[in-house]
């Protein structure tokens, strides 16, 4: 699998507005994004799997994803699996952090017990993030232990959603029809940065990288390889 620029864990909260457990999912995910693991996590709104485009639906294929649901309906986990990919971890608040729903307050205003549940769920999410990224956390320094930091963007980022961007994708013409290939711009950028020029040997590596995020029918592999290689050559010529 290529080391694409963003190795982060995706977090998806059900955000269910009618129960306090839904509010807990939302606030716990925000706590992880803002305070506990801001550099290692990214989020997307669950409904974007339906309302968004291919780039949005690629979210869980691109990021190992933790879903956080408020109740046993597990809308976030099921929706993620249905539209994107199977989540790496699925947390259900009503199973774990809060045995007594009535003590949590209302969906709009959590009680002290509800806010404690937020912290507990946030800690649980952070532990899963560390595990998924093989990250060892130094509790004294409050940062990752040297050598265990995942590949990161160099510039600082705000805890925000992916819904303004999605996973970059590109439309190519393959075997007479248009297909959308997830992560293609990132793969091209990475190959060029690695000094891999368009060639027959690069063609095989390119198509293997593309296959990780996209379904390529066996019978059309050569057509895909040809189209991707031509596009990569254009990408290198254009200096995008």
């Amino acid at each position: 699998m290529p080391e694409l620029p963003k190795k982060k864990v995706g977090l998806i909260a059900c955000s269910g507005e009618e129960i306090p457990e839904g509010t807990i999912t939302r606030l716990a995910v925000r706590q992880v994004l803002e305070s506990l693991r801001p550099q290692q996590t990214v989020t997307i709104c669950l409904p974007l799997f339906l309302a968004g485009g291919e780039g949005d639906r690629a979210f869980a294929r691109f990021h190992p994803t933790i879903t956080v649901d408020g109740c046993e309906k597990r809308c976030a986990a099921r929706g993620t699996e249905m539209y994107s990919d199977k989540p790496a971890v699925s947390i259900v608040v009503s199973d774990s952090a809060c045995p007594n729903s009535a003590a949590l307050g209302s969906a709009r205003r959590l009680s002290g017990a509800g806010m404690q549940a937020v912290s507990d769920v946030a800690d649980q999410i952070a532990r899963h993030v560390d595990h998924l990224l093989d990250l060892k956390w130094d509790r004294r320094s409050g940062g990752p232990v040297d050598g265990s930091t995942p590949q990161e963007e160099s510039k600082p980022r705000q805890a925000a959603c992916s819904c303004g961007s999605g996973i970059p994708s590109q439309v190519l013409r393959v075997a007479g029809r248009e297909v959308t290939l997830i992560a293609l711009p990132l793969i091209f950028a990475q190959f060029r940065e690695a000094g891999k020029l368009p060639s027959d040997s690069t063609k095989g590596q390119l198509i293997e990288a593309v296959r990780i995020y996209n379904l390529i029918p066996d019978e059309e592999e050569s057509a895909y390889a040809r189209a991707v290689t031509e596009e990569y050559a254009a990408f290198c010529r254009g200096g995008n």
Partner: protein, 136 residues
């Protein structure tokens, strides 16, 4: 009107305007028109389950979106519902240029004021929707 008007807010957790949409929906359904409206969580509609779809098909819906991607309106329509009115919080923002909301987990004062302004607009729509039906 056969059923309560369904209020479907954006479930965004990445931007302040999503939080304004949600808070505005709570104000409408809990304070301004609790007898005439009902909150519909967007997550329930994502899976295509029958129960929420049945509710949608028998009631008018007001979608409140926090960003231009308009998930609430699109998902309601995708689930077979009818968006009687689709609101963008950004439009409400433009009508109240003095309010600059910030905060996501906890809205600031400006965000709460904007949520109240949004809720008043939704209430007016609810009143009109019921009027239309009553006089039909």
């Amino acid at each position: 009107m056969k059923e309560k008007v369904l209020i479907v807010p954006c479930s965004g957790i990445g931007k302040s305007l999503g939080s304004v949409a949600r808070e505005g929906a709570y104000i409408v359904t809990e304070e301004l028109c609790p007898e005439r409206t009902q909150l519909m969580p967007l997550a329930l509609l994502v899976l295509g389950d029958k129960e929420p779809q049945t509710e949608l098909s028998s009631a008018g819906a007001i979608a409140i979106d926090g960003c231009v991607r308009a998930c609430a309106a699109k998902v309601v329509e995708g689930a077979g519902g009818t968006v009687a009115h689709g609101l963008q919080v950004l439009d409400v923002c433009r009508r109240h240029p003095d309010l600059k909301p910030s905060g996501i987990s906890e809205l600031d004062e400006s965000g709460h004021k904007l949520a109240h302004a949004l809720a008043e607009e939704v209430k007016e729509l609810v009143d009109n929707m019921r009027g239309e039906v009553t006089h039909a």
